[in-house]
């Protein structure tokens, strides 16, 4: 070994660099498939975004440059959809993260069989398919015969049943509650795992220093959960940006555009109006937004 190294010592850096290949054959199958099913569509979306292309139109696709983007700037529905997306995403993620944190702290000391069962039961919403979650809540939100109205009426909170999903100002919050229900177990599990990962000595020495209750949680535990919380939030922000199933199955973006997020808007433009070019332009803007979060995510990981 030593002899070989000595022999190479004239240009060691150059020699090792030469030997490192650019690519690895073992990655080729995955890279090839992804190049076709993801890479090509992304590039094609960029091309389509500069075209006037109607899927059922009689005219062939026509290059229009930045026209689609100019149209976008003046499209109030686009801005509403963007606003809805931000409210839906950040609102649901923030609430679900707080609830998940509360659950993780609450059940931290629950050990043994009972603890395991409680934890598993708290995770149940995660195992329900999104479309089922949507229909289930749609049924419970019904104005006539919905469980939620019945409960609120019985408790005296409301006087008349409310048509939750048909009132513009209530539809988005109602869908967000559904979303929070489905998402909280993710944060619960993630943060419970992070809590369990805090070294015992840290907690013990904090106890010796008379840190208790809130001060123990805020001063000692939260800093340890920061990374998990950050990674979890970014992952869920990305997932919520792309959420289609829950919104579509509950409201299809209505009433009006009250619950229309970017996904729903793009879907409508592409597959109901067949305006593929315009839909692609929205997609490109959105892609840019998402890349910002993707990079934030990558940076957060590196800090970790």
């Amino acid at each position: 070994m030593r002899v070989a190294l000595a022999g190479n010592s004239r240009r060691p850096a150059a020699r090792t660099a030469e030997r490192i290949p650019w690519f690895d054959t073992m990655v080729l199958p995955s890279a090839g498939v992804l190049a076709i099913v993801v890479g090509y569509p992304v590039v094609y979306t960029l091309v389509l975004s500069a075209e006037d292309y109607n899927l059922i139109g009689t005219t062939p696709p026509r290059f229009v440059g930045g026209d689609n983007f100019a149209k976008l700037v003046h499209d109030p529905t686009f801005w509403q959809a963007l606003g809805n997306t931000l409210v839906y995403t950040f609102g649901s993620v923030a609430i679900a993260a707080l609830l998940g944190l509360a659950l993780a702290l609450l059940t931290e000391r629950a050990s043994g069989r009972a603890g395991r069962i409680v934890r598993a039961l708290l995770l149940t919403p995660w195992a329900v398919p999104f479309v089922v979650v949507a229909f289930l809540f749609r049924y419970m939100y019904l104005q006539n015969g919905g469980a939620i109205n019945a409960l609120l009426l019985a408790a005296g909170v409301i006087d008349t049943p409310i048509s939750w999903l048909n009132v513009a100002s209530l539809a988005l919050p109602a869908v967000m509650v559904t979303n929070v229900w489905a998402m909280t177990p993710f944060f619960f599990l993630l943060l419970a795992a992070a809590l369990a990962g805090i070294p015992n000595e840290v907690i013990e020495s904090a106890r010796v220093d008379r840190a208790r209750g809130w001060s123990l949680v805020v001063g000692i535990k939260l800093p340890f959960l920061r990374n998990a919380l950050l990674v979890g939030c970014l992952l869920m922000i990305i997932a919520n940006f792309n959420d289609f199933a829950k919104i579509w199955a509950m409201t299809q973006g209505g009433p009006g555009y009250a619950t229309t997020t970017l996904v729903v808007y793009v879907y409508r433009q592409a597959f109901e109006s067949f305006a593929i070019g315009y839909a692609s332009a929205i997609g490109v803007v959105w892609l840019a937004l998402l890349l910002v979060f993707a990079f934030a995510y990558l940076r957060a990981l590196r800090v970790r």
Binding site: M26, L34, T124, F186, N242, F244
Partner: protein
């Protein structure tokens, strides 16, 4: 003095305990009530499920809703089979293709390694709806619209990058010494991968496959777009499409269908629940 303070602390601690139990109980109700409501409704008659004042449990429990699914006009069994076949196929294909890539990303040295890893991570985050129109045109030209294969191709867009990252975390955990020994015995790379590494990460393959299966099962946008014949539809899309028809007011039938759509996912979920955190944050050691 000391005793009084200790007493008071004991008292607050007891109160804290009670508050804690009440909070856990509330959390359990919040988490389970909707699921209970789905199950309860699925055993109610059509009339009872539509009552203005909902009954807390089925007054006259019936299996009619479930019987209706299999004997009725809807090809519910076909929906079920379609979903299981496409999701299983996606899981198996994704794991098979992703395994060598995961191995290379974990072990091999090549200049584009970090770039490839990051690309996979970003692919996993891409909004599916942005890929939708080009993929639709691609499948149209390949005559794969309305086929199981076409759906599997669609599901691969998120299943494959995810599988690569998750499997990489499992390969990372295999001690390198095991491979060194095999190398000394004259094994080549592919042999090492399939004869040494794969047997060691079998649980990882299973977990990853289950994850991909669950993600595909949850997907609505692809089947809704790429499948045009109702008989070839998957469960989530079928629920959406038929809701406006047969199930318009038949919430009992709807909830029975929902229950059966949930069951396989619930089984898959609790089978891999322990590896859940690893799965969702896989890639968390990116670039390492």
């Amino acid at each position: 003095m000391m005793d009084a303070a200790a007493d008071r602390r004991g008292g607050t601690r007891r109160t804290a305990r009670v508050v804690q139990y009440v909070a856990i109980a509330l959390a359990l109700v919040w988490s389970l009530a909707p699921v209970y409501w789905m199950l309860a409704t699925s055993f109610k008659t059509e009339l009872e499920a539509a009552r203005l004042a909902p009954t807390p449990w089925p007054l006259r429990p019936t299996l009619d809703n479930y019987r209706g699914l299999f004997g009725g006009s809807l090809p519910f069994l076909a929906f079920f089979v379609n979903t299981v076949v496409t999701c299983l196929a996606t899981a198996i294909v994704a794991v098979i293709i992703a395994t060598p890539a995961a191995y290379a990303l974990s072990r091999a040295r090549f200049r584009l390694r970090a770039a490839t890893g990051y690309a996979m991570l970003v692919f996993r985050m891409l909004p599916l709806v942005v890929l939708l129109a080009p993929l639709y045109l691609l499948l149209l030209n390949a005559r794969l619209l309305d086929t199981h294969t076409g759906l599997v191709v669609g599901f691969a867009t998120f299943g494959l990058p995810f599988a690569v990252w998750m499997l990489k975390s499992f390969v990372d955990a295999v001690p390198i010494e095991v491979e060194e020994a095999a190398r000394v015995d004259g094994y080549r790379r592919w042999q090492i991968l399939f004869r040494v590494v794969v047997p060691l990460i079998l649980p990882g393959l299973l977990t990853t496959g289950t994850f991909v299966f669950m993600e595909a099962w949850n997907n609505l946008i692809y089947p809704l777009t790429f499948v045009t014949t109702l008989e070839k539809q998957t469960l989530p899309a079928a629920l959406v499409l038929t809701f406006t028809g047969q199930f318009k007011t038949d919430w009992g039938g709807m909830m029975a269908a929902a229950t059966l759509t949930t069951l396989p996912l619930m089984i898959a979920f609790f089978a891999v629940q322990r590896s859940m955190v690893r799965g969702l944050t896989s890639g968390a050691v990116a670039g390492a």
